[in-house]
Symmetry: C2
Subunit: 375 residues, 2 copies
């Protein structure tokens, strides 16, 4: 079978299918070079939770539980260190309005069974002494983890070896056709092309900045700074990822490139949150398009093909691709092999978008879509 | 003879000496990779003028006059396009305090024979419609030029060909010794190593940002924005250079790397000056150490050597290396060949720092060293 797309999703699916005994080829002109390359790697189902997206929160909690075994197996087989950390997430509010949003998010998470410990200003600064003296409060989500997505992609590429072909592939009735006109026949084609080339998926541009700073925060910080959201993710060797802007772009808007305005906002917000970062070294500025879906949930499952090949979608993961890679791989494998789909993944069959009047999943949404409760 | 250092200064000196019939080798581990790589290429003697630095202003005016012939010869011989432009500099003030500084600079320049045309708010925005509506006034320096320093270095490297050796060289009594222990004998060694390895020279770190924006300003802008200084230099293909921070660093402070604080300040200041740049693509962030000298003037001429090789300094150009390259090359060649040194360069003999009580050159300084009058 062929997996089209070599980001963390396509590679995790391919690895799962190989381990299940299938003969797999992954096609991507630049494996690991898409949104995986810019991803923060926060394994934080609560950080992304919306009112009305309880199904997505359950999917994230399911996938988070799979991460330790997924990472251990991958690290063992590849010999790579993935920099998986279990230090939790600290939510931070810079003013009273920001704090109201943090409290609102905490109530939602608590109601969904996510462990939450509220932190007053003193406890917050004791936990993260680099925070500005002006922060007003926050919370700790002790069960969140994070990982370095570039290392995950490198490890998956290492275990997949020459099963990965550096070429663009397009599905056709009995397999895929490559850029050079050559064809790969396949009974199953898994489509994991990220922000482009997936039905129902649109690009949502994001910018992030990679820094080096010593000292560095100990935990992932997700902050609201006077309404601006920013996250700070510590990695090995004093590296930090600061992200991320979010901007809708037309699909034909060219390669994502960081903009002056987006990067300026990230840097200013990060500096307001952690004044000591002013002297941090700026290592890299990166922009990529996330794969956004109509309901923010991924598309996991078969769609009607046009020929003999079965087409299985693994896409639309928006800001959750790294977190959701293990459950996505398990779900795709279940669809391919006719096994039971993980219960948390059943709500994310792509067929939900082919029934235009079925909006039941969304009737419990009680908040404005453009306002994110959590950090 | 050997030129140690392959920045714009070392390369221009080597080219001049080759054209004068000398056998020249240039040694640099990364030619064109030092401060030349980050330089804005403003050929603007007035832009850098200080009260008390009339001698430096005269040197800049002399070198600016040499630029058209220098560039024409280099472009002709190399076949490279240097992107030399003669559109002048626009000085911009964002508030009344900024404007007082611009007016003060204009009086100094006018008194030194530099053409200056003051612009009121309306004339300023007519000249550069992308400027913020909040600017209060400025001036046009119509005789300033600018050039792309990376193209100048590439063109010089092309004409010098295999005379450039990619190795670090250290002067010794009868020539230089390279990193690999091999020796080049030379009767004359020209030392043009920039921010490190030059007597009397200290590193002054600078950060700059390269953008792409269409539309783009038509001219070089040198602005004061509520006391923050920023320049915007347009280049070919919609590229813009935004610079530059200035920060003293100890010489052993490691490779220059851009910092979050410095880059954030540049981006915010540029955006306040030209709101339309918010959507500009951020192409590159760069940091390099400028070669600062005790009196901001370059060191042009012989110093006592320790053996048979004569040692000629060509360094300490601070923020004026690109502007001063032609007059530096002519001055070095004059010292090597026993010709008359250009009159404007006579004040910049390195011996001035070996007479500790001779401070006559500076008695007319009547302003605070840390306050720059011009943009």
């Amino acid at each position: 079978m062929v997996v089209v797309g070599g980001g963390v999703i396509g590679l995790a699916c391919a690895d799962e299918l190989v381990m299940a005994g299938h003969d797999v080829t992954v096609c991507d002109p630049r494996p690991g070079g898409g949104s995986t390359y810019a991803a923060a790697g926060m394994l934080a189902p609560g950080g992304e939770a919306w009112f009305g997206e309880e199904a997505l929160l359950r999917l994230g909690i399911d996938s988070l539980a799979r991460w330790p075994a997924f990472a251990a197996s991958l690290a063992e087989r590849s010999g790579h260190h993935l920099d998986l950390r279990s230090t939790g997430t600290v939510l931070v509010a810079a003013d009273r309005d920001d704090l109201a949003e943090v409290h609102r998010a905490c109530r939602l998470l608590d109601a969904s069974g996510v462990r939450v410990e509220e932190l007053d200003r003193r406890a917050l600064r004791a936990a993260e002494p680099m925070l500005s003296g002006r922060v007003v409060g926050g919370a700790l989500l002790p069960d969140d983890r994070h990982v370095n997505p570039r290392r995950v992609a490198d490890a998956l590429l290492a275990v997949l070896g020459d099963r990965v072909v550096r070429a663009r592939a397009t599905p056709e009735p009995d397999g895929v056709v490559l850029d050079d006109g050559s064809r790969l026949r396949a009974e199953v084609v898994v489509l994991a092309t990220g922000a482009t080339g997936m039905p129902h998926v649109r690009p949502v541009r994001g910018e992030a900045v990679r820094l080096r700073s010593r000292p560095s925060p100990a935990r992932v910080l997700r902050a609201r700074v006077h309404g601006e959201r920013v996250y700070v993710v510590p990695r090995a060797h004093g590296e930090l990822l600061i992200g991320a802007t979010e901007e809708e772009h037309p699909a034909d808007d060219g390669d994502p490139l960081p903009t002056l305005g987006g990067v300026a906002r990230l840097l200013e917000t990060a500096r307001a949150l952690i004044p000591g970062l002013a002297t941090a070294e700026l290592l890299e500025v990166v922009a990529r398009d996330r794969p956004g879906s109509p309901d923010n949930g991924p598309l996991l499952g078969p769609v009607p093909g046009t020929g003999s090949a079965r087409l299985v979608l693994a896409g639309g993961h928006h800001r959750g691709g790294v977190l959701l890679a293990p459950v996505t791989a398990a779900t795709v494998r279940a669809h391919v092999d006719g096994l039971a789909v993980p219960p948390a993944a059943q709500a994310f069959n792509p067929q939900r978008f082919d029934r235009p009047n079925d909006t039941d999943r969304h009737t419990d949404r009680d908040t404005d879509r453009n306002e994110e409760p959590c950090a």
